[in-house]
């Protein structure tokens, strides 16, 4: 039996009839056509499907859409504001934090979560902050540098009130 869900995604309210078993990631990708969120492992290991739900990073392949009823979801498509890249997105571009780009949306969301909770992480803390995200291309080093770049940028912005 289908259920009605109301989910705010990237600031836009959506109301849909869904099968209870519809995974949140399929809801985002197939129902809303927000295909930036990817599916990598399907067993809650790789983090490619990571999105923010009410401010917390979550693996959207390990959640049913019905569980997100009433929630606010931010996907990679909603991270940039008014055409301005999020500092983490900018960091990934500046520091070559991606190659094939498939893990990147989830990785960026995880990095954004990390910096929200810990604005000045050490390299080790960055590595632990993204341990729920697998990347097969970069060997992680440029990703760590990308997050460091973003942390510096966010600190500067905070200081200048930008």
């Amino acid at each position: 039996m289908k259920k009605t869900v109301s989910i705010n995604v990237n600031g836009v309210a959506h109301r849909n009839e869904v099968e209870p078993r519809l995974l949140l990631v399929h809801y985002l990708r197939d129902t809303l056509d927000l295909t930036g969120t990817h599916i990598g492992c399907e067993t809650s290991i790789c983090g490619a499907c990571t999105v923010m739900i009410d401010g917390q990073s979550v693996k959207s392949c390990t959640m049913f859409a019905v569980q997100a009823d009433g929630a606010s979801v931010t996907t990679i498509e909603g991270l940039a504001r008014d055409g301005e890249l999020h500092a983490v997105q900018e960091g990934f571009w500046e520091r070559h934090g991606l190659q094939c780009g498939y893990c990147t949306p989830g990785m960026i969301i995880s990095a954004a979560q990390l910096l929200e909770r810990n604005p000045d992480p050490t390299r080790d803390e960055i590595r632990h902050g993204i341990e729920g995200n697998l990347c097969r291309c970069t060997g992680y080093q440029h990703i760590v540098e990308a997050v460091e770049y973003a942390a510096r940028k966010m600190k500067t912005e905070a200081a200048t009130g930008d």
């Binding site: 290991i45 990679i76 780009g101 992680y140 440029h142």
Partner: protein
């Protein structure tokens, strides 16, 4: 030619779409009325299929069709194998199993439904009657007899091959020392983060099939699928959208690709199949899978006299595209970066009830490097010499290049000592050895591993390749002055959209933003080979270079015409041609801006500015397209295509040094240092090169320490998801200290060698060497991968 972009850390032009989630991988492409396909796969490694009942599935909600082997056997040709070896046995590999299932994951039936959930549900409704057969799992047992997979062959041997030069028996007999070692290269899963995926759309009216696939080889795939499906190649269009990693696993032609094309042709609707990770582990090719016996002979001073490698290659049940060819690459690279007068490889290719092995990052070469480097370490251990010294004593000198090996190759250029010295300096090798000695006295377990590798890249001369080794490029200047590059080397993360644009922008003196690189669409791009074997820049980039040169030649003729001058007296600089007298004045000036769209009168192109002593490329392009004032007999348009055939491979090299410490109580290992100096020839974009090396090293660490595809005795896969198959994570990966030397190759005018696989090739022996070195006080000379903590703990605590 300027050097504004080449050699610089240019940010990638691919990235803005990818960091915003706006790229399109296969599953991101949505066509109306798309049907979804799911595959029923064998749950047994070896079984006779005695009955298939699809009736319940056919009537399940949303199900449109169910297909089994009998439906397609006459319709779809076999999955192709491009490896051609003398006496090679090539089993008939159909897209769906008919009478027998030969590995866990072998597709047996395909369900087509209105959505992916219904398709998946219907799979559970298909009833298969299996009669289990004993499986051939272990490669050596399968070679020795074992349960025979193909009754018609009588045994499990696919081929035997001997290669190498020099009298190996005499060489070994005359050695002061002969050392033998059994070496296992475990099976690995490539695990591109995006699995495979196919979307196929057939237009019955036009009789045109368009197939989107996550592949590294769109053109080769098109040719092979046209043959399999029996449709004209020019009615088949293959498009590779964004590809989420390949590592060789998408350098193939898969049953599912043909099946999807065929289903779309049956139903006249778009059909999509997106591989699950479990399917990816079971039914996408694996890498490595060799069990070998190396014997190395040397003089007492450490000079190597000969190397022999007898290897059983675990091919799996069928040949995928390059399955039997991979071990031959191992044979080619067995000389490493050393002078070894006699080399012999004896390959036994063995069928087993498993998924096929094929190209995985390095593809046969990591195996060779690992064998040679491990063997050199064994020599050092036997003779009590420093492993660095043993390597030095066997290097060819720079003046010996091109250097001929006993495997029949000519190494293009090399300065092995230079890279080694730089790495030793960076690591502080002598100091490290002192510290190690001190640490041992304090009871700590520390090891240093050194690997000096050479690899074979830029695959390759067509003579040595199964389906052409060249690459193609078209470069075109559009009427507005925008530069379009079409390359056959379709990337999947390597960044060719940026690096090829760097090459072109410098050659033409235009802004990087004005160059767009298009790839991965067989209807747009002229035939090409693909991205694999660290070939894209060295072969594909060189094709681009030559296409630009060809284009400039034509542009020069038009320029001379427009400037009312002679071709020999116009010169090109920074995006424009000038009459020679004006050459000095032209230097340093900024090129004209691209003709802005919107300034031209509606419906008409602006007139080219041909006054004065200069004419810009943009104006030449405009003149070439308006074509009212061109040299006599000149074709209109401004476009050039070049197919580059390399005369040789290239041979990048380098030194990797790993330093590890072992926890005596648990066997846990941590990296204290990792230093790599790589020489991939000239570098187009250092940032991209570092990225390739980082990724390669970490994949090698995965092989050395974590990864292994494990089948149990029944041929069931034990490591079927990422909850069991361990990949390196950010938190388990060390900081990598990189530097490089640059020894350009003479093989291509760019001087580039290739870098995609270097890290994977160089790092594995360094890591294993470090662990073995750490454990040498316990009498260890070799350990097989992946080296898990338990194995280390058992050695340290003498627990067997």
């Amino acid at each position: 030619m300027s050097n504004k972009y080449v050699g610089q850390r240019v940010k990638r032009t691919e990235d803005p779409r990818l960091i915003q989630g706006l790229g399109h991988y296969v599953d991101d492409i949505k066509l109306p009325d798309t049907l979804h396909v799911a595959f029923l796969r064998s749950m047994y490694a070896h079984a006779r299929i005695t009955g298939i009942d699809t009736s319940e599935a056919e009537h399940a909600p949303g199900v449109i069709a169910v297909y089994t082997g009998k439906d397609v056997v006459e319709k779809i040709g076999p999955v192709p194998c491009a490896g051609a070896l003398p006496g090679l046995r090539v089993p008939d590999y159909r897209v769906l199993a008919r009478d027998k299932a030969l590995f866990v994951g072998h597709p047996i039936a395909a369900v087509v439904a209105t959505d992916r959930y219904s398709a998946r549900d219907a799979i559970d409704l298909i009833m298969i009657d299996y009669e289990e057969l004993p499986p051939a799992v272990d490669v050596e047992e399968a070679a020795a007899g074992g349960p025979v997979i193909y009754e018609e062959y009588g045994d499990n041997i696919s081929y035997k091959l001997t290669a190498g030069e020099g009298d190996i028996d005499a060489a070994l007999a005359s050695s002061d020392q002969r050392i033998k070692q059994r070496i296992v290269h475990q099976r690995l899963a490539p695990v591109a983060m995006e699995g495979r995926g196919v979307l196929a759309r057939y237009y019955p009216g036009e009789k045109e099939l368009t197939l989107w696939s996550s592949t590294q080889i769109p053109h080769l795939l098109r040719t092979q699928l046209a043959i399999m499906l029996g449709i004209p190649e020019n009615k088949l269009r293959v498009i590779t959208p964004e590809v989420g990693g390949g590592f060789g696993s998408k350098l193939n032609v898969y049953a599912e690709e043909a099946m999807l094309g065929w289903i779309s042709m049956q139903l006249g609707k778009p059909v999509k199949w997106i591989e699950s990770r479990r399917e990816n582990m079971q039914a996408t090719i694996h890498g490595r899978g060799q069990v070998g016996y190396v014997e190395i002979g040397c003089k007492d001073d450490g000079t190597v006299t000969g190397l022999k490698y007898d290897v059983f290659a675990d091919l799996g049940a069928y040949h995928q595209l390059l399955t039997p060819a991979i071990p031959t690459l191992t044979g080619l690279m067995l000389s490493g970066c050393y002078k070894i007068p006699a080399i012999q490889i004896n390959v036994t290719g063995v069928f087993t009830n498993k998924m096929s092995t094929d190209a995985y990052r390095g593809a046969g070469r990591p195996e060779a490097t690992y064998v040679v480097e491990r063997a050199l370490d064994l020599v050092a251990a036997e003779l009590g010499l420093d492993p660095v010294e043993v390597r030095r004593r066997n290097f060819p000198a720079p003046e010996e290049f091109p250097f001929k090996t006993a495997t029949g190759l000519f190494y293009d250029s090399g300065e092995y000592e230079g890279a080694l010295r730089k790495a030793l300096d960076m690591a502080g090798y002598d100091q490290l050895r002192k510290e190690q000695k001190q640490a041992r006295e304090e009871g700590k377990i520390i090891g240093i591993g050194v690997s000096t590798y050479v690899e074979i890249c830029a695959l390759g001369p067509s003579q040595a390749m199964p389906a052409g080794g060249w690459e193609s490029a078209t470069v075109r200047i559009e009427p507005t002055g925008k530069v379009t590059v079409l390359t056959g080397a379709s990337p999947h993360g390597q960044g060719q959209e940026t690096s090829f644009a760097q090459i072109v922008a410098d050659q033409l003196g235009v802004a990087l933003e004005d160059v767009t690189v298009i790839h991965g669409d067989t209807s747009i791009v002229q035939y090409g080979i693909g991205t694999f074997g660290s070939r894209a820049t060295a072969v594909g980039g060189t094709a681009v270079h030559f296409a630009v040169e060809k284009l400039k030649e034509k542009a020069g003729k038009i320029a001379a015409h427009l400037l009312k001058s002679d071709v020999s007296s116009v010169t090109f600089n920074e995006g424009r041609f000038s009459k020679q007298a004006a050459r000095a004045a032209a230097a340093g000036e900024v090129p004209e801006p691209v003709v802005p769209a919107g300034q031209a009168p509606a419906g008409a192109l602006p007139e080219p500015d041909t006054g004065g002593n200069h004419v810009s490329l943009q104006d030449i392009a405009l003149a070439a397209h308006i074509a009212r004032d061109l040299p006599e007999d000149m074709e209109p348009g401004l476009s050039a295509t070049y197919f580059f055939e390399p005369k040789n491979f290239t041979f990048p090299f380098g030194t990797h040094i790993a330093v590890v410490e072992i926890d005596r109580d648990t066997g846990d290992l941590k990296f204290l240092r990792y230093v790599a100096v790589d020489d991939c020839g000239r570098v187009i974009n250092p940032m991209l090169v570092e990225g390739q090396i980082h990724g390669g090293i970490v994949q090698a660490m995965g092989q050395a320490l974590y990864e292994e595809v494990v089948y149990d005795e029944q041929g069931q896969m034990v490591t079927g998801t990422l909850m069991d198959y361990a990949l390196p994570r950010a938190s388990t990966t060390p900081w990598l200290e990189l530097d490089r030397t640059e020894t350009p190759t003479p093989v291509n005018p760019l001087g580039v060698k290739g870098v995609g696989e270097a890290g994977t090739i160089g790092a594995t022996p360094a890591v294993v060497g470090a662990v073995v070195d750490a454990l040498s006080p316990f009498g260890v000379r070799h350990l097989d991968m992946p080296i898990r903590p338990e194995a280390i703990w058992r050695i340290v605590n003498r627990q067997n």
